[in-house]
């Protein structure tokens, strides 16, 4: 079976320091995978490489079986992302931002307007859709960015700390959104620092530490956070680090 997203032995150094050291990761259709790690573990770099924002020094990334380096642009029409900053130009309204993102991914007209309406409901931002993003709070702009990742009905989404700045009700909305998305066959990769959320959204949790995935945990079961720290500590001890 072809994985929706496959990261194969990716290595990348930045400023002469290795950041990704043989990163392997797969996400299958119909599942949500979480990637967790401490600050500095390499999450941002990993996401950038996966989305073609940074070339790996070695290794490859495949989306739906196609290497992203040689794939045609259309492939990206099936991918949605929210990484680092939500798609949110201050001079455009929330609706215009979401529609622009959707159209940039190849979605058209009616489908876009329907998507915006549905996403506005789920994420509870309908009252703010026609307000310029400059006047929206950080949390509401995050919602705009989330909608922008989903509006074109992708089958793979990559979300970096998606609940950043969201109030608890919106977090539930996002959870519902991701659950419905994977139920319809979508694949989701989510990074987070919040283990309780991760446990509720993800089917599998990969632990990233110093540029590699060290272990993969099932989120159900006791105390995910404790198990995370056990893995990280074991990895450090094995490498003889303080």
């Amino acid at each position: 079976m072809t994985h929706a997203l496959e990261v194969i032995d990716v290595r990348r150094s930045l400023r002469a320091r290795p950041v990704l050291e043989g990163l392997d990761l797969t996400v299958d259709a119909g599942t949500c995978r979480a990637l967790v790690g401490l600050n500095g573990a390499g999450k941002t770099t990993a996401l950038r490489v996966m989305l073609g924002m940074l070339h790996p020094d070695s290794g490859s990334i495949r989306i739906h079986g196609q290497d992203i380096g040689s794939a045609r642009g259309d492939l990206w029409g099936r991918v949605g992302h929210l990484v680092e900053m939500p798609f949110s130009y201050p001079e455009l309204t929330a609706r215009e931002n979401i529609a622009a993102a959707a159209r940039l991914h190849g979605a058209s007209g009616l489908m876009v307007q329907e998507s915006i309406r549905d996403l506005g409901d789920i994420l509870r931002m309908t009252p703010w859709l026609d307000i310029p993003a400059a006047r929206l709070s950080l949390g509401t702009r995050q919602k705009v960015g989330l909608a922008a990742a989903f509006a074109h009905r992708p089958d793979l989404v990559v979300l970096d700390e998606p609940t950043n700045g969201l109030d608890p009700l919106a977090v539930v909305g996002l959870r519902e959104l991701i659950t419905a998305f994977t139920r319809d066959g979508g694949a989701a990769l989510v990074t987070s620092h919040h283990f309780d959320e991760v446990a509720r959204i993800a089917d599998q949790v990969d632990i990233l530490h110093r540029g590699r995935v060290r272990d993969s945990l099932a989120p159900d079961g006791p105390d995910l956070e404790r198990r995370f720290f056990e893995v990280v500590l074991a990895a450090d001890i094995a490498e003889g680090r303080p």
């Binding site: 400023r15 790690g37 401490l38 600050n39 500095g40 941002t44 680092e84 509870r124 931002m125 309908t126 009252p127 703010w128 307000i131 006047r135 929206l136 709070s137 950080l138 949390g139 509401t140 995050q142 919602k143 700390e161 950043n164 700045g165 969201l166 109030d167 608890p168 009700l169 919106a170 977090v171 539930v172 620092h193 919040h194 283990f195 956070e225």
Partner: protein
Amino acid sequence: MNDAPAVSARGLIKTFGSTRALDGLDLEVAPGEVHGFLGPNGAGKSTTMRVLLGLLRADGGTVSLLGGDPWHDAVALHRRLAYVPGDVELWPNLTGGEAIDIFARLRGRWDRAHRDDLCERFDLDPTKKARTYSKGNRQKVALISALASDVDLLLLDEPTAGLDPLMEAVFQQAIGEVKAAGRTVLLSSHILAQVEALADRISIVRQGRIVETGSLSELRHMTRTTFVAETDRVPEGLDEIAGVHDLSIEGAAVSFRVDGDRVDEVVRALAPLGVRSLVAHPPTLEQLLMRHYGDSSDDVTGSTDDGTGSTLEQETAR
């Protein structure tokens, strides 16, 4: 230091075009307390912070900060307060340490040793240039400079956004120290566990107004504790106790919710039944908030939506 409130706002109004961001907001933060500031997205939290920082001028109402007017006395007040935003921008070519020093010097006295200690605890290398920092590290720079400064008031707006759980723990510890030193903290955050652990009192804002304010225990009195118990004898008579709600009995297992001020009565009613197991959770902050968050967009869109509300209750009751 007198007993005048560190922050006092009465009837604050702020409009942006057709949007009424603040609609008669009253807020009071006592000196030396950690005050949690909560509310749904778009409720007016950041706008309130900006008014307190003197970045925005309120269209109506009164506000005082550390005894002064935040708009007119901004320069003087900023030497006595520290602000950490949810999204930190730094000068790319300065190192983290230099950025921290600049912020701290703007506020007058500061402590080098304390700054170094915080850098270590937050695992931040202050010798690296700011443009090499991840979002989490930029956040740490702002946090450390605020915590290391000798100020009277800290205004924190989602201060731990992007920080991992280790850093969250360091942050909570550091706030404890700040509090012990007698400083006041206004903490706006969506991380309920954080607010629950740190705040002495909280204020909940919705649609530009404060809808609830008080200490966690005061607020708990207003809501219900959930009980799940297994008893030897079939529980009877529980439904007759005032304040018991949603009673459900399945064989020897019983679950119900009790008004905060009736808990003692209920425990005494359970004891003679031979309690085999008992789990009681006081309302979490999440449950307290859901009353206020749940209706917000219903008000605006004009529809009632009980469905979502009860799903949330089921979720949070866990």
